[in-house]
């Protein structure tokens, strides 16, 4: 056989990678489309995300506006009413602030009435659910991304270096695995909360950012293990050796060969971890250890609902609606995650 | 009335891509104490035919036959309870890979005892003795220790012996052996085959020996049926089949076996690949790989016809005549 030129080999290699890549995604898309529950979940989540994002723009009541005269109102079908004012919002970020300004010019002082009822302080439940959703979803997304970043980097490095470095790094993971992180995190939050202002002044660490980071730290272990496994098995596959022989740079190898394989795992991991993170956030906020008032999240709402349960006055809306919001979202995320996993690797079906 | 009578047995499976006809009209007869060798490639339908006979196919399978009678009783007309009662007791089956076919979580003693309790009504100490005896009968040394062991503690050949011991514990009249030696070393193969021969003689059992290896049936079977694409294409007494193979496929199989008595430079494989059972053309399914094909072969599927005493083939071509002409040249 004639020796081939460098370019020809490169071309063959990238073609092979592409072919393999294409058919994987096309097959996956086909399988995914057959999954009814997953498709509905996807639509639901897309709509929810859009709704969440544009909440400040929409004509809802301010979520933190306390009106004791309207305490515990049952849901009323009062669609439009007056009385909105821009002043009753707290702590708006730059973008949200602009959106509220726009809303003021669009809708004036009109707002949507308490169609889902009010809570113990007369605050509009619908509005609180939507604003709370923003926080919960944001935490879910950001914290998961944090854990992803940490996990993937850690796992990739460990796998790539191999040898004693890999051993050591994985031992650390093993030890960390046996620690019930959740308790440690609660402990950590406790200690850190003590000195919120100090930390903010000294290190410029925003409360929320700290919260994200801490939660993310709980979930990176699994990803690290998985990615390391993938890197290890890929390290020994022939085409990587071939690429190295041809002189392809490390970066190139990583990009063209590692990424497609790991990507499907990452996607599945994301969709399954986001609900777990959201659950954890709700959990912490429920206990009073997470998001603090006047901020609102679904966990805080759930806590409020349960606190308000008493045999004399049944404030069912307060219990039901936040629960449904959280429940539907988590269920949708789970169905989506399951659907993606079945689509990307049908061998894992029924697992 | 023959001991086992099979007539026009058909088995099909509905799949995502269509209906797969795995068995398309198999017919044969078996007598008491006889061994029938059933030879074919993977996908020829040899296993499916006999799983259907045992009633071990998944629910989705569709089984039909003109006649499927064991000792005169129609198997397909029986209710499930009666059919189940026959399994293990009158008709038994052993499988290809004893490692995966034995329960890894139970000791051999427990597994054999299960058969003894069910089919021979033994209890208590008799069970233990029976299990020991069963293992001894198949030539396993120190059976009293072995009954406490798990399958993964046995070697390949011993596992197959143990499986034989277990499945024959009910003293069945018919044993279906589905590729019993395929997963074993050649020397062990011979031992197992000898074991089966011995048991057959001792018990007067009939055996259906399924294999892809013609060499296995050579010393073992009284008659051989060769299957291809879900049908029998040649059937004859063993000696006749080896001396006068008359179907192109059989000839192909024989030429591809290395022989010790002849000096051959190259093995001649059968060209082409096994047929796609989803998309069978109307004619003979072997045609794409056949060196003797004639126009008629593409038009209709050949039926089984007798070309000698107890010798049938399903072929449009008169191969023996053709070969005589070739030789004459």
């Amino acid at each position: 056989m004639k020796p081939r030129s460098q370019e020809e080999l490169e071309r063959l290699l990238s073609e092979a990678a592409k072919v393999r890549g294409n058919s994987l995604w096309k097959d996956a898309m086909r399988r995914f489309k057959k999954n009814f529950a997953a498709k509905i979940s996807l639509w639901f989540l897309v709509l929810l995300s859009l709704l969440s994002f544009f909440t400040p723009l929409l004509p809802f009541a301010p979520p933190a506006r306390v009106r004791l005269s309207e305490q515990f109102q049952a849901p009323k079908l009062e669609l439009i009413r007056e009385g909105w004012s821009k002043a009753e919002y707290h702590d708006l970020g730059w973008l949200s602030s602009k959106m509220v300004d726009l809303r003021a010019s669009l809708f004036g002082t009109k707002e949507i009435g308490p169609i889902l009822g009010t809570d113990s302080k007369g605050r509009c439940l619908l509005s609180r659910i939507l604003w709370g959703g923003r926080v919960s979803l944001l935490v879910g997304l950001v914290a998961t991304l944090v854990s992803l970043l940490v996990g993937v980097s850690y796992g990739a490095l460990s796998g790539y270096f191999g040898g004693w470095v890999d051993n050591l790094m994985m031992r650390i993971v093993d030890v960390l695995y046996s620690i019930p992180f959740i308790f440690l995190v609660i402990f950590l939050m406790t200690v850190l909360r003590e000195n919120q202002d100090l930390l903010e002044q000294r290190f410029g660490l925003d409360r929320m950012m700290l919260f994200f980071a801490v939660i993310g730290l709980v979930y990176w272990l699994t990803m690290a293990r998985v990615v390391r496994g993938q890197v290890l098995s890929l390290k020994h596959k022939e085409f990587v050796e071939a690429a190295e022989v041809m002189g392809a740079s490390t970066w190139r190898i990583l990009r063209q060969h590692l990424v497609p394989n790991v990507l499907s795992i990452v996607i599945v991991y994301l969709t399954l971890t986001i609900p777990r993170v959201m659950l954890f956030e709700a959990f912490l906020s429920f206990l009073g250890l997470g998001v603090q008032p006047p901020d609102v999240s679904w966990g805080i709402l759930a806590a409020g609902g349960i606190d308000a349960i008493n045999p004399i006055h049944v404030y069912w809306w307060f219990v039901l609606f936040p629960g449904l919001a959280l429940g539907f979202t988590l269920v949708a995320l789970n169905f989506l995650g399951d659907g993606l996993r079945d689509a990307l690797d049908p061998k894992l079906k029924d697992r | 009335m023959a001991f086992l009578e099979v007539s026009d047995l058909r088995v099909s499976f509905p799949t995502e891509d269509g209906l797969v006809e795995a068995v398309r009209g198999v017919s044969y007869e078996l007598g008491v104490g006889e061994t029938l060798g059933v030879v074919g490639e993977s996908g020829s339908g040899k296993s499916v035919t006999h799983l259907a006979m045992m009633g071990l196919l998944p629910e989705t399978a569709r089984v039909a036959a003109g006649r499927l009678a064991f000792e005169g009783e129609e198997l397909l007309e029986m209710d499930e309870a009666r059919r189940r009662a026959m399994r293990g007791k009158e008709i038994a089956m052993i499988f290809q890979d004893p490692m995966t076919s034995l329960n890894p979580f139970s000791t051999l003693g427990t597994q054999i005892a299960e058969m003894l309790r069910m089919h021979q009504g033994l209890r208590g100490k008799a069970l233990v003795d029976g299990a020991v005896r069963a293992l001894a009968e198949v030539g396993i040394p120190k059976p009293e220790i072995r009954i406490e062991q798990y399958p993964h503690e046995f070697s390949g050949g011993m596992r197959q012996r143990a499986m034989i011991a277990m499945m024959l514990a009910g003293h069945p009249k018919l044993l279906i052996a589905d590729e019993p030696t395929t997963a074993l070393d050649v020397t062990v193969q011979a031992q197992i085959l000898e074991l089966l021969r011995g048991l057959q003689e001792a018990r007067g059992m009939s055996i259906i020996l399924i294999t892809h290896d013609l060499g296995v049936v050579a010393g073992q079977a009284h008659r051989v049926a060769v299957m291809y694409a879900g049908r029998i294409v040649e059937e004859a007494e063993t000696r006749t089949l080896f001396a006068r193979p008359s179907h192109p496929y059989t000839r192909g199989l024989l030429s591809s076996i290395p022989r010790l008595d002849r000096d051959e430079e190259q093995l001649v494989p059968i060209p082409g690949t096994p047929p796609d059972l989803l998309h069978l053309s109307g004619g003979c399914p072997f045609r794409p790989r056949c060196s003797f094909a004639e126009p008629a072969c593409g038009e209709s599927e050949p039926a089984l016809r007798e070309i000698g005493p107890g010798h049938r083939i399903a072929c449009h071509v008169d191969l023996p005549a053709l070969l005589k002409v070739e030789e004459a040249k």
């Binding site: 609660i186 402990f187 219990v319 039901l320 | 399994r87 890894p104």
Partner: protein, 309 residues
């Protein structure tokens, strides 16, 4: 030393190492962070402060404090409560642990009693209505937080149709609803795992052999399929127990059960650091011990697996 004892010893050492890591991290968090609880003395009332000084030697160098506390812990003394003047952490733990334990054990039983049959049925009737329905419920059970399930159930069975008492600690009827809420998500996991395990086993050759022997379908499933099919569930018990401990924090709060979970959460809210650290260490040890127990059980059940020395 016989292999089993060697195995136990190694695991025990690992546990000590893990606990040590937790202890060290907690210790330095509490003392080294500027403005931390021990660093600034403005937090503790004078009596407690005196106690602390005596026990921990707050005015001593950091490393000496570390050693002293470490030795105390090794002797099983978790020290005095940071916020509750008359109580030691040990006393609080002794009071709360039995309650949480009963709740947790009951929850685990419920998880198995509901999950196992559901999974087996799902596997047997794979693809049919029963299976789809059960698996839908299972996914919902996993996704819904236990406090959402709790709030809905309380609404129905405590308020609207008063079947159960609203909470507190008393007889069995006080335990049932909380244990159910605690165990429900795990029942869902168990159902899914069992179903998967069973399906995998049912596809194995030896199941075909069992049928070929002439066994009835129910015997095939009960005697041959079950043992292998349940193995994933056994492995799951470790994380399940950890999860039940976690879930108990919320459930105990909702149902006003004065168990260890409540005390831990309270300690977090009240900044009762010694109690909080004691709880964290205890939880870690418990989880570790349970995982060890589960691993041993698994080895006993699956003859192909040996103890990884």
């Amino acid at each position: 030393m016989p292999p089993f004892l060697r195995f136990l010893f190694k695991r025990f050492l690992w546990m000590l190492a893990t606990l040590w890591v937790v202890f060290t991290v907690s210790f330095f968090l509490m003392r080294a962070i500027p403005g931390g609880p021990f660093a600034s003395e403005r937090n503790a009332p004078p009596e407690v402060e005196a106690n602390l000084r005596k026990k921990y030697g707050i005015d001593r160098p950091l490393f000496e404090q570390y050693l002293r506390t470490g030795v105390m812990l090794l002797q099983g003394d978790f020290g005095p409560s940071f916020k509750m003047e008359d109580y030691s952490v040990n006393e609080v733990i002794a009071e709360g642990l039995p309650k949480s334990a009963s709740l947790g054990i009951l929850a685990l039983w419920i998880a198995l009693l509901l999950g196992l049959p559901a999974g087996i049925l799902g596997a047997i009737h794979r693809g049919k209505l029963t299976d789809n329905l059960l698996m839908f419920l299972a996914t919902a059970g996993i996704a819904l937080p236990n406090f959402v399930i709790a709030s809905i159930l309380i609404l129905f069975f405590v308020i609207l149709i008063p079947v159960f008492p609203p909470g507190g600690w008393g007889g069995f009827s006080h335990l049932i609803l909380p244990a159910f809420c605690l165990g429900a998500p795990f029942a869902a996991y168990v159902a899914r795992l069992t179903r998967t395990g069973m399906l995998e086993i049912l596809g194995q050759d030896y199941i075909r052999t069992a049928r070929a022997k002439g066994l009835s379908e129910s015997k095939v499933i009960l005697r041959h399929a079950l043992k292998g099919g349940l193995l994933p569930v056994v492995s799951f018990l470790g994380p399940a127990i950890a999860g039940i401990l976690t879930g108990s924090l919320v459930i105990e709060r909702i149902f006003f059960i004065p168990g260890l979970g409540t005390h831990f959460v309270q300690s977090a809210i009240n900044r009762d650091y010694t109690l909080a650290m004691g709880c964290v260490l205890l939880f870690t040890a418990l989880v570790y011990a349970m995982n060890l127990l589960v691993d041993i059980c698994y080895t006993v059940l699956d003859p192909r697996v040996g103890l990884e020395g």
